[in-house]
């Protein structure tokens, strides 16, 4: 791919690339200019910093107010409100945001590795715990999923499927 065309396309797309995909910032082809890479990295870093700032603000509010909820939930509400009010633009966060969400599961992996320390609990009560957790999760998924879908598909309630 033409290097100049790539650079121009990147510059034009900038942080407002509609795809919201990291790949949009990654220059294609072997001869991609270093500047295009740097620009991509800079954009992503800025967007990450923005998301991080919303998270920090959420955590701060929760600590100050002594609320028993996670700060990042407040961060979600704050970012949503800022988008709705037009204080920030979707394009400012979209590339980094969609990348993080696509790989959200990754961030839980190091946490679940902590289960390796719970061997003795599962050795003594394992069967009961697993059965309890699995059956109650199954029933919960069934209730939430079937009840909501039944109501969603009943035009009397909502105007039908979206």
């Amino acid at each position: 791919m033409d290097v100049r065309a790539t650079a121009v396309a990147l510059a034009r797309a900038g942080p407002s690339a509609p795809s919201g995909n990291l790949a949009a910032f990654a220059p294609r082809g072997r001869s991609a200019p270093v500047s295009a890479w740097l620009k991509g990295i800079a954009v992503i870093s800025l967007q990450l910093t923005g998301l991080w700032a919303f998270n920090v603000a959420g955590v701060w509010v929760v600590n100050k107010a002594g609320l028993p909820i996670p700060g990042n939930l407040v961060g979600i509400v704050a970012l949503y409100a800022a988008l709705e009010l037009g204080v920030v633009k979707l394009s400012w966060f979209e590339a980094a945001g969609s990348f993080l969400i696509r790989h959200l599961a990754f961030f839980f992996v190091p946490i679940t590795v902590g289960l390796m320390d719970t061997g003795s609990l599962f050795a003594t009560h394992g069967v009961g715990i697993i059965v309890t957790l699995a059956v109650s999760a199954g029933i919960g998924v069934m209730l939430a999923g079937l009840v909501s879908q039944l109501l969603l598909r009943n035009p009397g309630h909502t105007g039908g499927r979206s």
């Binding site: 909820i69 996670p70 709705e84 679940t112 289960l115 697993i130 029933i139 079937l146």
Partner: protein, 233 residues
């Protein structure tokens, strides 16, 4: 442990985690099954490798700290799909709300009742009943309902893994296909891990799951002090 070996183990922990996650993405694409969902698949591989290498979880903790640094910003980013899908979301608010209530109360009550069938004591029953709430909230509720916060955290993480891996499989069999319902069920029951799974199914599902995780937690924290005493006695 010396400083340089801490660095080496941390680097090893990060490399193993990223490698296992990348492998899980390949495995899921080739053999889609509850067993190849990223959290379950990667966790099993990583624990096996750490055990084989003689690395304990406390050795792995610095690596965990580095890798989970972006979890907060990543969760905040859920506002983006929510904003983009806000019309579909608000149109479906009432059915979703009723489903959320049914799911979070249903799972709490059934967990408590089944735990009693296994003759678990009051502390274990209380701790297990609130397992569908995201960790930071579950730990707070555990204190209120005389549960054990540490046990609760273990149950929350295990539930997330079970729900995120087998939830979509179960919903396929039950004919739950609406993206709002799938996201709602995953977020309500399997909190963050379910939300991650829902986000991989689609933007609307992920957004609904993120909100359901939050509202489900609020719902559980309001209901638990009333419901759990009846389950325990």
């Amino acid at each position: 442990m010396t400083g340089s070996s801490t660095v080496a183990i941390t680097g090893f922990g990060i490399a193993v985690t990223i490698g296992a996650y990348a492998l899980s993405l390949l495995a899921r694409r080739r053999y889609p099954s509850p067993l190849t969902t990223p959290v379950l698949f990667s966790t099993v591989i990583i624990i096996a490798i750490l055990l084989a290498a003689g690395i304990s979880f406390s050795d792995y903790k610095p690596a965990k700290g580095i890798m989970t640094f972006l979890l907060g910003p990543a969760t905040v980013a859920l506002a983006i799909p929510l904003y983009k899908n806000r019309q579909a979301f608000f149109l479906n608010l009432i059915p979703a709300g009723i489903g959320l209530l049914a799911g979070s109360l249903g799972t709490m009550i059934t967990a408590g009742l089944i735990a009693r069938l296994f003759r678990f004591g009051p502390e274990l029953v209380s701790s297990i009943a609130i397992k569908s709430t995201t960790v930071p909230i579950a730990v707070e509720i555990a204190k209120i309902v005389h549960g054990n916060p540490t046990l609760t955290a273990v149950f929350v993480v295990t539930t997330g893994m079970i729900g995120a891996s087998f939830g979509p499989w179960l919903m396929d069999r039950l004919g739950i296909t609406h993206p709002v319902s799938r996201g709602l069920a995953l977020g309500t029951i399997a909190h963050g891990q379910g939300t991650a799974q829902a986000a991989s199914e689609g933007e609307l599902s992920g957004a609904v799951a993120g909100v359901a995780m939050g509202l489900g937690a609020v719902c559980t924290s309001l209901a638990a002090p009333w419901v759990i005493p009846h389950l325990v006695q």
